[in-house]
């Protein structure tokens, strides 16, 4: 395996690794900072691909299997790229009681994929969350980082249709 440079740019020339190194240095390359470092890595790169996990493992001097084990234990970490848009449906109790299942079915039917998947054109990722904490506004979804409150199956599908419309308008 190639040696991992500590301070200069990544061999690939990707300077985002410099940014990651800053977090690693802040935690003195301690193995117990693994989760903090994975947070930073995902924030910088969007998702955790194998190269990145390898880089983190070497930098923190951790076994590869442990890094992979941690990255797959926590649902917040993504090992695959997400779609251009994400629709995070809250499946917390309050949302469930107020009809989140109906929204789930309508959205899955509309996108022809299940929650946890991304459409083949990489446009829309459907994600389910365990309570985003906006129970007063149930049922809610986090639509591209904005909370959409008091949704209905129709209004949820309409949100996704908007994305799909804008995609069609943009010339390839």
């Amino acid at each position: 395996m190639p040696p991992i440079p500590q301070q200069q740019a990544h061999p690939s020339g990707d300077n985002r690794f410099k940014l990651l190194d800053r977090t690693i240095t802040k935690h003195q390359s301690r193995g117990d900072a693994l989760i903090e470092v994975l947070h930073a890595a995902q924030g910088i790169f969007g998702y955790l691909e194998n190269d990145l996990l390898l880089y983190v493992a070497h930098a923190l001097k951790l076994p590869l299997s442990r890094v992979y084990g941690v990255a797959t234990f926590y649902h917040f970490f993504a090992l695959k790229p997400k779609g251009k848009h994400t629709f995070v449906l809250c499946m917390g109790t309050a949302c469930y009681v107020k009809g989140a299942t109906g929204i789930q079915q309508a959205v899955e039917h509309h996108c022809h994929i299940k929650f946890g998947e991304t459409t083949p054109d990489d446009q829309v990722s459907l994600v389910s969350a365990r309570c985003v904490g906006s129970c007063g506004l149930a049922p809610v979804a986090v639509v591209d980082n904005n909370v959409a409150a008091k949704l209905t199956p129709e209004s949820a599908v309409a949100r996704i249709e908007e994305w799909q419309k804008t995609k069609e308008e943009v010339p390839a």
Binding site: M1, P63, L64, S65, R66, V67, Y68, G69, F73
Partner: protein, 244 residues
Amino acid sequence: MAILTLTIDGEQVSGKDDESILEIARQHGIHIPTLCYIDGLAAVGSCRLCLVEIEGSPKLAPACTTKPQEGMVVRTATERLQRHRRMIVELLASEGNHQCAVCVVNNHCELQNLAYDVGLTYVRFPYLFPKKTLDASHKDFIIDRNRCVLCTRCLRVCYEVEGAHVWDVAGRGINCEIISGLNQPWGDSDTCTSCGKCVLVCPTGALIEKGEAVAEMEKKTDFLRFIVTARKKKEWINMDSDEE
């Protein structure tokens, strides 16, 4: 260290305060079923088969991680415990793809022995038939995750004794899996020393040697206490003897 007296299944026994109830019971010939526990590795209390009743405590306690107390009254085989144990094995049987007839460890399998032990003859739960992977990329060994019971002995022996930490658990819940490296083929692992300890401690046919036929492979776990004692204390004990 102190010597304590306690009662296990009505029998007055004594043990050291840094030993577990399981160790003390075994020293006195009292059998408690186990799966994740193996002499020589850290106890994790995850299979829940060795749960025992302790008088005065509303909760069941894993014998492998519970330390004795003076005057403690322990029951290891009440009807309730036996019922729970049978159901735990029943759940395990439903979880994996355990086809004894085509398994190289048939008749030498700890899961199979447990089923006899707890009197399991029928599985009432639907079989989950997981679609797990078989990896034969290693030159000497095979891992068949369909037969894995997630006892984590392999990763503990690799980490605690060999020191390589090739294995870990990935995912969570019912999707947990033993993986090597970054979920790479075992044969691609740079860190595996091919020492084979993981294969020897595996209680089922999940980790096996290549070239064995059905019911041919017998696993030996005694080596573990030998090697741990040798490494820690520089003492090379007689593996055939029950004495420490």
